[in-house]
Point group: C2
Chain length 190, copies 2
DNA sequence: GTCTATAATTCGATAGAC
DNA sequence: GTCTATCGAATTATAGAC
């Protein structure tokens, strides 16, 4: 990517994208208006349309998430759950795209489909490297996603009282064994 | 409640409420319009305003959720997690208010506050009856909520592929031990 | 109680001057 | 590339006739 010579308007595009991420993360898809995003970026609303065509494509660009999952095979096999939990917590503590996707995915079908794609292309392959039977990777990845997304929902979106105040290390300590079970348990009942 | 003599318009109120639950559950707070709700209920949009004043109060009435949590102290103490998981699955398989609250809570602040209240008044007291130290009930309830809400999000809202197709019994089998740990484990690392 | 008509906003998107 | 002006549609909410 980053094709050819850098255009003079790349800075404006980046400013729009940054503002879009914040608005989508804070208000969801429908309530985040192009006018407000443009105001945050300090430009004219027309520019947003000129660069991204319409609101849907702007969201698609803003919600282009890279989970940056680590290589789980490098390290103690009995700690993959904790390492995965720590990674997600650290990744979200100061990163808006995922919150934007989560908040928007609740009401926007396109956002939900995008989440589906991210899990399939990024999480499932990594899960397949550590679970006993690779054919179970989709199911195990879905279980991992349910706990990880649920934690993100409570901590960053709903901001449920006890969950938001918990230190990140405590959350990691609680979620780690859960993910470990979802990833590697031979049987649900363990 | 059900104060005094039953009014003649109670049927209309109930029809509005049922339609509102479906729309809020399917489309979230912003996209669910009073016009569409009225059309579903087979009445005039003005009637919705007349009965509920405004959109916010209509949502408040539609999202008045009763978790109907069972008495966890009646039964084997080592199966409280599985029983709680089974209860939530069965409760949501054909009940819209919770999905409405979940979908709307992602973008509507009032809905998020309402969820906070439901957990504090309904889930925390039940958790307190089975966890080792009742003072930890809020934290343990939050952990339970994170997994339960995450599962509901994946299964009913985002409809993530492997999770939606899983039989309810399988989901219960996987979530049960997780909830058991959140409810009763003396230490996170178990 | 019920409905028509409409007020008052707000939004996404477009046309066109400079 | 940037901005002004505006269109057309949709929304919540209200006023008032019957």
């Amino acid at each position: 990517m980053t094709h050819g010579k850098p255009r003079r308007s790349d800075a404006t595009r980046a400013a729009i994208l940054a503002a879009a991420r914040e608005r989508f993360a804070a208000e969801g898809y429908e309530r985040a208006t192009i006018r407000a995003i443009a105001a945050d970026a300090g430009i004219d609303p027309t520019m947003v349309m000129r660069y991204y065509g319409n609101k849907e494509r702007l969201f698609a660009a803003a919600a282009d998430v890279d989970l940056r999952l680590p290589d789980l095979t490098a390290g103690p096999p009995d700690q993959v759950g904790t390492r995965l939990a720590r990674h997600f917590l650290a990744r979200w503590e100061h990163d808006e795209p995922m919150a934007a996707l989560l908040r928007a995915g609740a009401t926007n079908e396109a956002a939900a489909q995008r989440m589906h794609g991210i899990l399939a292309t990024q999480l499932v392959p990594v899960v397949a490297t550590v679970c006993p039977d690779p054919s179970q990777a989709p199911t195990r990845a879905a279980l991992v996603a349910s706990q990880v997304l649920g934690a993100a929902l409570c901590r960053y979106v709903l901001r449920l009282s006890p969950f938001t105040e918990m230190p990140a290390e405590d959350v990691t300590a609680w979620l780690g064994p859960t993910l470990q079970r979802y990833l590697t348990a031979l049987d649900p009942m363990v």
